[in-house]
Amino acid sequence: MRPAFLSPQRSFKPAMTAGCAAAFAMVLAPLVAIIWVSFFDNKIISFPPKGYTLAWYAAAWDMPRFRDGFVTSLELGAVATLVSLLVGVPASLVLARGRFRGREVVQSLLMAPLIVPGIVAGAAFYMLLIEFEVLTGIQIATTFTGLAIAHSLIALPWTIRLVTASLLGVDSQLAEAALTMGARPLTVFRRVTWPVIRPGVVAGALFSFVISFVDLEKSLFLVGPGTTTLPIVIVNYLEWSVDPTIAAVATVQILLIAAGLVVTNRYFRLTRAF
């Protein structure tokens, strides 16, 4: 046995456990509260509840704006994920492997949406689309197309980040080894490159979808009649009334995302992509 003073982990352990517990509590408390409230049988949210009911879920589903917002957000998430994969996967492969002039610049540009505050980026994009409309007469702002472009941009850095990460630490000569053994480029991708980057691609797709689905700031200026995303419907609703309907909507959203994470994690360990 080594003396206790040689194993610092040991003395840290209770403190570590307490710290982790506190962090978990902080993360989970609001979620638990929202889910709990969504079952309250009160019109005005107050503690303790009079009783429990599922009525708010039915009420939310009966309100077209929530249903439409939900569908719009689903569609946007799907489009954003698709576009970010189509652009992000090839970009990551080139960025991680290629040696070319301006590589860092391209990489920084692709990551830029992560550092610009969402509301600023949203406003800037809105103004760009308005200018475009003034010049060409084609309306993109407040249409689904405009939202889709914006959401694809939100999702792209995540895909690139995760796919690039999955390529790090993997021998960069795998593809060349396959080529010399007689594999044509498409076969190399199918048999070697794809299996190696798959965890990163799945994680990238998942994050793209989630980031798009919950986005509020960047969409704020871009939504229009018939193309309003769920988070914005929620904000609008909260301006006029605070009742458990909103908690029910939020609970559905939380469960949907959690389900996505769990299902993805079944196919590969998400931690491998980070």
Partner: protein, 353 residues
């Protein structure tokens, strides 16, 4: 297996010429080593042979087949990378089977050949493991099995031993040599380690700054280096800068005058060279022995086990290193710093560059 021929092959990256007008011939079944310092273009040359890098100029042939413009998957070369590059998501057997699969070899036959190749590298018992479950030496052997299983026309090895520890390196080197001669593989082995090249290769291609300095057997390369670079890079050598005087003697910068060797380059030579193991030190003698020698004073003695390294200084202060075998045949070396000696060498041992 084929003969590999490079004719006037060059590779340029912008202004940098990595490989400069290289012409050479690796014979069928031969074990050739590309030897040179880091950055001299060995990997680039190997990659051009494999087709992973396209030559800027020149022609590359496998046998009579011109492969200069063929992509790697149509060349049929076997390549072992410095980092092995095993597919992490495939088992050892699947890794080895990959080349056969690409050649559409029928399944049962492929399986038999995979096991045969794994047996050759003594890894048939680990066929179902994943690469990350193997040691470095084992991964290296999988990479080798994977490269030879489909009977490539040439086996290319890029510093295959550099990631192994010293003991393992010798073992793998000997295994490699045995395998190569049993199978009659035309092999090109890249290394920056002269001992590796000398001990394993039939012929060595010494490279420097993208150019071929000399091609020859290990013995030729060591005993008759074609250039000063080769003499310095392989083994150690005493070098005296100077010039040839009218009288047919070589006069060093410090003023010593040596008799000329009978062969070797003469016109315009500016360096006189002699290997340490060729030098005899005679205590108390004067003059210059049989015409090939110089008076000197012992300045340092380093015992190195099999040999003793003795540093002497000539009258002009130029250092000269002599290696004396500690085999008792020369008589026990009884020299001490300050002793006056004559350092001499056989006429045929002196080299001019």
């Amino acid at each position: 297996m084929s003969q590999i021929t490079l004719s006037h092959v060059s590779k340029r990256y912008g202004a940098l010429t990595s490989v400069d007008d290289v012409s050479l011939e690796i014979r069928q079944g031969e074990f050739a080593a590309f030897l040179g310092p880091s950055g001299c273009g060995k990997t680039t040359t190997l990659r051009m042979i494999a087709g992973l890098t396209l030559a800027s100029e020149g022609t590359i042939r496998f046998g009579s087949r011109d492969v200069t413009h063929l992509p790697p998957f149509l060349r049929n070369a076997g390549l072992v990378f410095q980092g092995y590059a095993l597919f992490p998501h495939m088992s050892v057997a699947q890794n080895v089977a990959f080349g056969l699969e690409m050649r559409k070899v029928e399944r049962a036959q492929a399986q038999a050949r995979v096991m045969q190749a794994l047996a050759l590298v003594k890894l048939d018992h680990l066929a179902d493991r994943l690469p990350r479950q193997l040691s470095g030496g084992q991964q290296q052997r999988v990479a080798l099995a994977r490269a030879i299983v489909y009977e490539p026309e040439v086996l290319l090895l890029d510093e295959p031993l550099s990631a192994l520890d010293a003991k393992l390196r010798n073992e793998v080197r000997n295994d490699l040599r045995r395998l190569q001669s049993t199978l009659g593989l035309t092999t090109i082995f890249v290394t920056h380690d002269q001992d590796e090249a000398l001990s394993v290769a039939d012929r060595i291609v010494v490279m420097s700054a993208g150019k071929v300095e000399q091609i020859g057997t290990p013995r030729e390369i060591y005993q008759r280096p074609a250039t000063r670079f080769v003499a310095e890079f392989i083994g150690s050598t005493n070098l005296f800068p100077g010039r040839i005087e009218a009288g047919g003697r070589f006069v060093t910068a410090g003023g010593e005058s040596f008799a000329m060797p009978r062969e070797g380059r003469r016109d315009g030579a500016s360096t006189f060279a002699v290997r340490p193991e060729q030098i005899r030190l005679t205590k108390g003698a004067t003059g210059e022995g049989d015409g090939f020698g110089v008076p000197a004073t012992v300045s340092g003695i380093v015992y190195r086990g099999a040999l003793t390294e003795i540093v002497v200084q000539t009258a002009s202060g130029a250092p000269l290193v002599a290696h004396l075998q500690n085999d008792g045949r020369d008589g026990e070396v009884r020299l001490e710093p300050g002793d006056v000696v004559v350092a001499s060498w056989p006429a045929g041992a002196a080299m001019l560059f």
